[in-house]
Every structure is written in structure tokens, then in C-alpha cells.
């Protein structure tokens, strides 16, 4: 009471300062959360903004005359003879068809047929050849065939390639873009949904327009299969022992410390382990989803063990006591009563662990799941596990490394697909938890 005139109702300078500090402090908190949420939104907007384009592709629809004298000189439709005609044999047909389409659309252009056909993808001739080999009965007829357009044309329609940006580009020139503009008006070139991106195989550096993520999705699937088959039983068994049976001594202490440390080991270290043990020592095939699955299993185990132990711990002891009281052995009490009650929690933890494993990239780089073109979809389970393949995140990394910016769009598009999987898995986990979680 230094100053008798002070009232509680009027703030003195010091109180004002303290209240201002209070307001500032609160503001910092809001700002911090704001930054976090803003970053999340920025990230999602970037992904969607850059990646949605990958699901659409520019196609050129042409009427191709499959001349018999070029494709099947003997006229016997013998598959062996048909295979002798290489993609070079199909080039003239495509050029003729393109020229015809340009004339039909009444487009004036000074471009030579060769430069016109350059608007098609480099894989166009191979696509046509595969079609003819599969349908030899169409030889001699004129068919309507949809070709992929070159990635520059695709980029032009999507706004990635502009007339300014092609100044130093040898692959396309302004006259070709004029032709594209007119063909789009005529309906020969159009942009539409491209299922081949989701289901198809990767393509080489030169043909970003043909690249798809489907085969590496299969690789990811087989890896997750290995993780599920190995990590779930081993993780549950380890947790049951540690939670229900382990005596408290230094050995179990070491195991517990070990598991919590393993959960924090950088993922790349697991990649080194996989390289040294599974590939260099055991000589398992490189780039095989089996090896990837084994590495990811070791990585996921701690996550599954930690969540399974939490689930087992949440089952009240009275359940065990009741089972033991009725004459069950400890093993029976655990396997017949505790484990079924803990199952939803275990399942939730497993799904979250799998989602983590699905998005993991670093260890896969070391066991060779990048650097080649995942072009063949696996035919069966054994082939799916043992033949070289990529995985979704590794495929995305591979695309991001390539020089042509057309691949970046595909990398973002791949991320959208990867995130769709992750969101689905996490949603299932949340629903399971909400639906089956019991409070005792």
C-alpha cells in the first residue's frame, strides 16, 4: 500500500504491462498453431495444385490405315512374321495418319509430316505395334487409335510449357504449338483422364507421358504383405511375452530398452542392415520386394510392439483373474481372453505401423529399389516377391531425380496416390478405435 489513491478498477502501468505480456504470450501460442496449420495447408495445396494434372493426359486420336503391304507382306498373319516389323515400320503409317488428320481439320501448316508426327509420344509407334500384334485381324483396315501426345504438347495444354519457355527447347517449336492449337480446336488433340497413370508401368527418361505408378504400387503391396505376415505375429508374440509373462530382471530390462531405442534408430540404418545382411550376406535378390519387406518389418516391429503392449495393458486384470479362477492356465487366459479383447487396439497399431512403412523411402534406396524402370507388372506372388520392382515412394523419388520437369508433375501425382492410401489406412485405424475401443 504505497499509494492510497490506487484503485483496483484502474490499471496502473505495471499491471498494464503484465496484461500486455499476457496477451502477447497468448498471441505467440496462436501464431505457433497458425504457422503449423498454415504449413499443412501450404503443403496440401502444393501437392494438389501440382499433382492433379498428372491424372490427365493429352491424347491424339488418329485414323490409322494399317496397310497390309507394310505390316504383313506375306499376308498370312503369322505372329512371328508380324513381330519382324519393328516400330520403324509403323512410323510411316502414323505420319500418314497424322497428315490426314491435319488435312481433314483444314489446318494450314508448313510443317513437314515428320515434324507433325513429332507431336506424338516416342512410345506411340510401340503402342500401335503392340495393338496390331494383339489384334492381327485389323490389318488392312483403318482403325481409330488414340495415341499419347508428346510430353511437351501435354505440358502446353496444362500450362507448364509456354511459348516463352520453349525458346531453347529442341523438342518443340512455335509452329508446332500453332498446329497443336488448331488441332485442339478441331478435336483431334484432347486432354482427358488417364487411367494409365494409376495402373501403368514406369517409362524411360524420354517418355514422361507414358509413365505410371501401377507397377511400383504392386511392389509396395507385396512389401506390405511381407511386413504384415512377419511383423504382426512376431510383434504380438514379443508383446505378449514382455507384458504377460516376462519376469522383471535385467534381461527383460535390456529387451525393453532395446525396443524403445530401435524405434528411434534412423531408418537409413535399417537400410544399411538390409544391404549388409539380406543382400551381401544372404544373397537375396536385389531390388526385390521381399528384401524391402524384411527391412521394413524390422523397422515396423518396435511400433507394433509398443502399441500392442499398450493394448494388452488396457485389458483389466480382473479378466485374467476370472479365467485363472475357472481353471485356465496362464497361457489359456492370455490367448483365449486377453488377446481377443486387445485385438482392436493391436489392429489399430498394426495399421498405423503399416502406414508408416508404406511411406518409408530411405532404406529402400540402399537395397536398390531405385534406378531402374519398373516396367513389368508381376505375374504371381513368387514373382511379385522376388523379381525386381520399385515401391511407391521410391518411384516418386526416382521421378523427382529425372531431368525432365514433366516427371515432377508425375511425382506430385504419385504423392497424391500415396497420401490417399495413407489417409485411408489411418481413417480405418481411427474408425476401428472409435468402434471397438472399450473403456473398462
Amino acid at each position: 500500500m504505497t499509494d492510497a489513491t490506487t484503485s483496483l478498477l484502474t490499471q496502473d502501468a505495471r499491471t498494464k504491462k503484465r496484461n500486455a505480456a499476457e496477451a502477447r504470450f497468448k498471441l505467440y501460442g496462436i501464431a505457433a498453431i497458425g504457422i503449423g496449420v498454415a504449413m499443412l495447408i501450404l503443403l496440401l495445396v502444393t501437392i494438389l495444385g501440382n499433382g492433379v494434372g498428372a491424372f490427365q493426359q493429352t491424347f491424339v486420336t488418329l485414323h490409322v490405315e494399317l496397310q497390309e503391304k507394310k505390316l504383313d507382306k506375306k499376308g498370312n498373319r503369322d505372329p512371328e512374321d508380324l513381330k519382324k516389323v519393328t516400330t520403324f515400320g509403323y512410323d510411316p503409317l502414323m505420319k500418314a495418319a497424322f497428315d490426314k488428320a491435319v488435312k481433314e481439320a483444314n489446318v494450314e501448316t508448313k510443317l513437314k509430316p515428320k515434324d507433325q508426327a513429332a507431336l506424338l509420344s516416342k512410345s506411340a509407334a510401340a503402342d500401335l505395334r503392340n495393338y496390331v500384334l494383339a489384334n492381327p485381324e485389323h490389318i488392312g483396315k483403318t482403325i481409330e487409335f488414340t495415341f499419347l501426345a508428346n510430353s511437351r504438347v501435354d505440358g502446353y495444354l496444362k500450362g507448364r510449357v509456354t511459348r516463352e519457355s520453349i525458346a531453347n527447347d529442341k523438342n518443340i517449336n512455335a509452329a508446332q504449338l500453332d498446329l497443336v492449337d488448331q488441332l485442339v480446336k478441331a478435336g483431334v488433340i484432347e486432354k482427358r483422364f488417364n487411367p494409365a497413370f494409376i495402373l501403368g508401368a514406369d517409362a524411360s527418361d524420354q517418355r514422361p507421358e507414358a509413365a505410371g505408378i501401377g507397377v511400383s504400387m504392386a511392389g509396395s503391396f507385396f512389401m506390405m504383405l511381407v511386413v504384415l505376415v512377419l511383423a504382426l505375429p512376431i510383434g504380438v508374440a514379443a508383446s505378449i511375452y514382455l507384458e504377460e509373462f516376462a519376469p522383471k530382471n535385467w534381461i527383460t530390462d535390456i529387451i525393453e530398452v532395446n525396443i524403445s531405442n530401435l524405434a528411434a534408430v534412423p531408418s537409413i540404418v535399417f537400410g544399411i542392415l538390409g544391404l549388409a545382411v539380406f543382400i551381401n550376406t544372404m544373397h537375396l535378390p536385389q531390388s526385390a520386394p521381399l528384401v524391402g519387406g524384411l527391412v521394413l518389418t524390422l523397422m515396423t516391429l518396435p511400433t507394433i510392439i509398443i502399441s500392442t503392449r499398450a493394448a494388452l495393458k488396457s485389458v483389466p486384470p480382473s479378466i485374467r483373474d476370472a479365467a485363472l479362477g475357472l481353471g485356465a492356465s496362464r497361457m489359456q487366459a492370455v490367448f483365449h481372453h486377453v488377446l481377443p479383447l486387445a485385438a482392436p487396439g493391436i489392429l489399430t497399431g498394426t495399421i498405423i505401423g503399416l502406414a508408416q512403412a508404406l511411406g518409408e523411402t530411405a532404406p529402400l534406396l540402399l537395397i536398390g529399389m531405385i534406378g531402374f524402370i519398373a516396367s513389368n507388372a508381376p505375374g504371381g506372388v513368387a514373382e511379385g516377391l522376388l523379381s525386381p520392382n520399385s515401391a511407391m515412394p521410391a518411384q516418386i523419388y526416382e521421378w523427382a531425380k529425372r531431368a525432365d520437369p514433366a516427371f515432377y508433375e508425375r511425382a506430385w501425382g504419385g504423392i497424391i496416390i500415396l497420401l490417399v492410401f495413407l489417409v485411408t489406412m489411418n481413417t480405418i485405424a481411427v474408425i476401428l478405435r472409435r468402434r471397438f475401443e472399450r473403456r473398462w
Binding site: 505457433a32 499443412l40 528411434a264 534408430v265 537409413i268 544399411i272 544391404l275 513368387a382
Partner: protein
Amino acid sequence: MPVLWLFLVVLALTGSGFFIGRQRALASAKGDSRNLHSRLPYYGTHAAISVIVPSLLVMAIWLFVQPLVVSSAAEAVLPQALLTADASAGLLMAEVHRVGAELVDQGVTGPLAALVPAGTTAELIPAIELYVANTHTGHLWMSIAVILVALVMGGLALRPINAEFRARNTVERTIMALLIAAASLAILTTVGIVLSMLFETINFFGLHSWTDFFFGTTWAPNFRGDSDLSILPLLWGTLYISLIALIVAVPTGLFAAVYLSEYAGPKTRAFAKPLLEILAGIPTIVYGLFALLTVGPMLTTLFSAGGLLGVDWMKGATSVLTAGVVMGIMLIPFVSSLSDDIINAVPQSMRDGSLGLGATHSETIRQVVIPAALPGIVGAILLAASRAIGETMIVVMGAGALAKFSLNPLESMTTITTRIVSQLTGDGDFSSPETLVAFALGLSLFVLTLGLNVLALFIVRKYREQYE
């Protein structure tokens, strides 16, 4: 695919073991299961486990050991003339493995000079022949051994089965052993990690001086040999990027945690906390791409020549700042959710005491809650640092490849994890120091992160205030 067939045979034997065991027990109890010591399925399970566990164990060990034996036999017949400096035994054996495995897959036996694919070194054919022949013999003997073990163990298990046999106790003992084995796998993994890196690291130090690795100042791998391989510039890059990441993540995460646990109502909390945690669930490859294609170019438009700020500080899109900022974003939820838990653990009575003495809310937090939670928060920050040091994809894509000591955050630098990836994904020979250095780097990384984790746990345990 003999392994698959063998596996199916073992499964069939297991199934028949189950039924025979069951039948024997039932027969000895005169068809009434009430006369048995244990419940009926236990007798079958006992026989089944006795068949499947030992035979799969034999199979696994065989599959692990056989390649080692076969390789060393093939390595012994490698022509000495080929073992020159640029074609070491490891490189030649890689070819033997590749061609040999292909031929084994095709099921080829006998002399195979004609079957070897084009492009194979002709001098290696004897080694490849030996490899293929040994592999086939090995598979044959493995099948015999596994089936024999299955039959013998099954027979031994079936013999004592009668009504008095304590089947449940036996089965439970076996299951317990399996549970213990599963729990020990964690230790085995750690041992595997350490040993796999230790052996190669020792090899590396045999080829390269350890003083240069730990105390040298240049990193200049040269695949023709005579490289400077020193960890210090990489460590500098790693720590610098981690520092920037922590500068971004720690204040943001901490303030977010404080706000969420001290100020926010239940509704805000239920909304904002999961949103922040989504950031933690996003795979690192996404952050890597974000750094490479969004943040990097964004920083370039600000700081490079002709950029918005009119300065020329940045040469390319990859830089310490790019990687650091993106990694910081990734770590925000990590710091915030750990600190949130710790702040929530501070008892309410301490806040009430402080508020009752007239402190404002923020004064209470700064002078009471945070000091009480400090050990936990320091632990959380150390864990975040360990995550930052071990992070790979963001730095591989965002940080660049130049190893140097520099304070400029806009320059591109490289890290330990980046170099591990690039040394092990190159075409290098597996016995050259340029490749082996990756294992030494990996071991250093492992020790570094493990040390941080242990320190974090130690701080939390030692300085935790014991409330109540």
C-alpha cells in the same frame, strides 16, 4: 522353386502330424476325450509343433548358410589371372552370383558353357559351374535333411502320446519358447545392425586411415582411389541443418504445445491437435519433394541474383536453409505432441498455487509450469535433434552435395545420411574404401543418434520432478 515345394511338404507333414497325434490320443483314451489329461486339440498341436518348428528352423539356417559355403567354394576356384587391381574378388563374385542365380532359376544342371548368357567373362565359367552344381546339391541335401528332421521329430513327438501325456504343458512350454524368441528378435536386430556395420567399418579402417576419417577436413571421394574421406565436413552440414530445423521447430512446437494445453478450450484442442499431427504422418519423401520443388525455388526467387530482394546470395535451389526449414516443419508436431504430454503431466495444484498468489496466466506458465516440465522438454528437444540428424529424404533432395565448412545457410551442403545414400547407390565396388566408408558413416550416425536418445532418457529420468 524347390524352397516353396519343400515348404508345402513340411506343411502337409505338419497337418498329418496333427491328425495322427489327435487320433493316437483319442484311441488311447478309448474314444472318450474326458479320459485325457489335456483337451484333445493339444495332442495334435503337440505333434504339429514338433514337426514344423524344427524343420523350418533347419530350413532357415540352411538357406542362410548355404550361400556362404557355396560362394567361398566358388571363390576358391576364381582364376588368379583375373584378380587384378580393378577387378577384385568381390566384383568377380558378383558376376558369378548374378549368372549363377539366373542359371539355378532356370533349373540347369551339368556342363553349362553353352547356356551361359552372352557377355559373361569366359574365365569365370568354371566358378559359375561349381556355383550352380553346389547350389543344386545343396538344395537336394536341404530337402532330404528337412524332411528327415520333420519325420524324426514327428515320430519322437507321437511316441509318448497316450491318455496320461501332459500335452498342454508341453505345448505351452514350446509356445513360451517361441514368445521369448520373438521378444529376443529385437536384441538380434540391434546386434545385427551393430555387427553388420562394425565388420565393414573395420574393413574400411584397414584400407583408410582412421585419423583422416575422424580428424581430416576434406570429403572428396574419388572412385579411382586415393580419396579424402573425412566425416567432419559432413558432420558440420548435418549439425547445421539440424540446428536450423530445431530453430524452426522448437519455438513453434513449444508455443503450440503451451497454447493447446494451457489456453485452448476442448473444442480448439480437438480440432488443432489432430491437424498438427497430420504433419507428423506425412512421409518424408513428400517433405523432400516439397523442399526440392517448392521451398528451394521459392528461396531462390528471394535470394538469388535477379531475385526479389536484389541480392546474389544463393546459387542453386538446394541449400542448408531449404532442408532445414522443411525439416523444421516436419518436426513441429514431434516437439509439440511430446511437450504437450509433459506439460499436461505438471500437476494442477502448482498452477493453482501460482495463480492464487496473483501471477498472470503467462507468468504461471513461464515461471512455474515450464521450469517444472523442463527436463521433459529438453528430452523432447534432444529426441527431435536425433530425428533431424538421422533424417534422410529431405536432405538428399533439399540440401545438395557439396561437402564444406561454411556458415552461409544459403549455400548447399551435404550430410552424413546423404553421403551414405550416394556412396552405397553408386556403381562402386563393395571392397573399395569409397563404398565401405558408408558403413563407417552409418555406424557414426547410429552411435550419435543412440547417444542422443540415451541422453534424452537419462535427463528425463534424472531430473524429473516427482509429484505426488
